[in-house]
């Protein structure tokens, strides 16, 4: 049994049919990349897992438990963390408060803060600053730290390098690798070399369907067929 199994899900925004039968599996301990052009349904796949945009049909199981029909906080309680695109840190809360709010009820807040600040020392230096005052890279680290302290076994990470300066991207890649040591990762990433560098396997989405999958190797970035999908 895979940690996460998505089976033939169909997800809509209003009347727009976004996911047209996506199926994929993520094994415990893996980093799986979901790649594809803008608008092919990568983010919608993550939102479907979290039931933020619930599929109209199909099945999503996590450790064998059906997620479709659950509420988002119930999915999160099972150990599924979300690190969304554009970070979505709580800008009016301090760094410490952003981490505290992500600790499950009854969890050890001090241990969570220690984990977050040990993993990302740059955050420790700005622990009392409002998250809105952090740089883009620091906000991304905070978003990942929030996922880490949530005691999650599966992290859904959406476009972690989006909008960041090239010199910051390597820091964020390191942060994702840190996260991958703590949890299984389903990673949405448009930066193909970065995705292949971080992932064990990949799925290529196009028009709401999985069109390719395989081992994540540097050779994938040179694959003409895949490059065509990404540039079409």
């Amino acid at each position: 049994m895979s940690l996460l199994e998505i089976d033939d899900i169909h997800t809509y925004y209003g009347e727009s049919h976004i996911l047209e039968g996506v199926s994929l599996e993520v094994e415990d301990g893996e980093v799986v990349a979901l790649i594809g052009r803008n608008g092919v349904g990568k983010t919608t796949t993550l939102r479907s897992v979290l039931q933020l945009t619930a599929p109209r049909s199909g099945s999503i199981t996590y450790r064998g438990e059906e997620l479709v029909g659950k509420r988002t906080h119930e999915v999160a309680d099972l150990g599924v963390g979300w690190i969304p695109e554009e970070r979505r840190v709580f800008s009016q809360l301090s760094v410490t408060e952003n981490i505290r709010v992500a600790v499950p009820k009854g969890g050890d807040v001090d241990a969570a803060l220690e984990l977050a600040f040990d993993t990302f020392p740059a955050l420790a230096e700005r622990s009392e600053a409002n998250a809105g005052a952090l740089s883009g890279g620091q906000q991304q680290m905070l978003a990942i730290a929030r996922g880490l302290v949530g005691e999650n076994d599966l992290l859904l990470i959406d476009e972690p390098s989006e909008g960041l300066a090239p010199q910051i991207v390597s820091d964020v890649a390191e942060a994702v690798q840190n996260a991958a040591r703590e949890a299984t990762v389903l990673l949405v990433e448009q930066n193909l070399p970065l995705a292949m560098d971080l992932a064990d396997r990949f799925y290529l989405l196009d028009n709401g369907q999985v069109v390719e999958d395989g081992e994540a190797t540097s050779g994938v970035t040179d694959d003409e067929r895949i490059r065509r999908y990404l540039s079409a």
Partner: protein
Amino acid sequence: MSAIVPTLLAELATLPLVSYIDTLGQFLRPSTLVGVFVRGLSKSAIYVMIASGLTLVFGLMGVLNFAHGSLTMIGAYLGGLVMVLAVTGASGTVSRFAFFLVAVLVVFGALSALGGVIEVGLIRPLYDRPPIYQILLTFGVTLVLDELVRIVTLFYGLQPISEWQAALGTKPEPLTATIRLGSTTVSGLALFEILFGVVTVAAVWAFLTRTRYGLVVRAGSEDSEMTEALGIDVRRVFTTVFALGTGIAGIAGALLMWDPVWGASVPLAAETLLPAFVVVIVGGLGTFRGTVVAALIVGMIDAVTTWWFVNAVEFTGLPEMFIFLILVVTLIVRPQGLFGVAEVGGH
């Protein structure tokens, strides 16, 4: 045209400018300033109490609760009922204050429960609809509640008098007296209102900044979807905050039952809703800090203009116009309010 100009000039010449300068001198006397300042603070205290619940609910849920004033009005009647039943002619000052605390607890409990029922039963099914549905619903709720209270009060003969005199009569003696502050005197009730407002603000502030639930509320106010994805049942938080907001509205009403300017009366619903809207819009929709600052500004301007229009112009309706003038200027100059963000999102 040629006839109008000399007439205007003649009228301007007759304006009592000297009288206004005299009035300015009178206004600037320390005793007057202290008196106006205390009255401003007491108005601010009332405004912050009636607006706190409204801003908490809007900040978290994006719901502009038009029934808020009606809940304040019900709080005034319910608080008054507890006081009228408990207070006898033999009740002393201490016992009257003690009864008032009991009334506050009863009102808070009852109004919170009512708020919880309204949120779960009426508003929750409409969260996925455009905001106009919630506005229309809460407007409908206010009409129903006002009529219900009108029917009950008419049945028991509590209306049509504008204030419920029996409730007013339960005030402890220090609140009916005036207290000397230096060279001026202020009403005991004004000082009590200030104290009560400060306690309310401190309690809400402590809740928001010192408790995990408050942290969740602040996070949910900024981005409820992200908060839910962190494993927090945001719907339950919605219910709690709506109940808390209506409870605070009720407490404000319990305080207003003793104020002869307000009193327990059906029109109290509209009379408190409008300034509450002004305060939350001026402060920035959904920001508690903004609500506190806006309440101070609006209260002070209200007190100053009231003094001027009573002592210089003798047109008592104008101070209320000034409150709405503040609203108009804010909407033109800074539509998001003093502490609001340009766009409220996350809902």
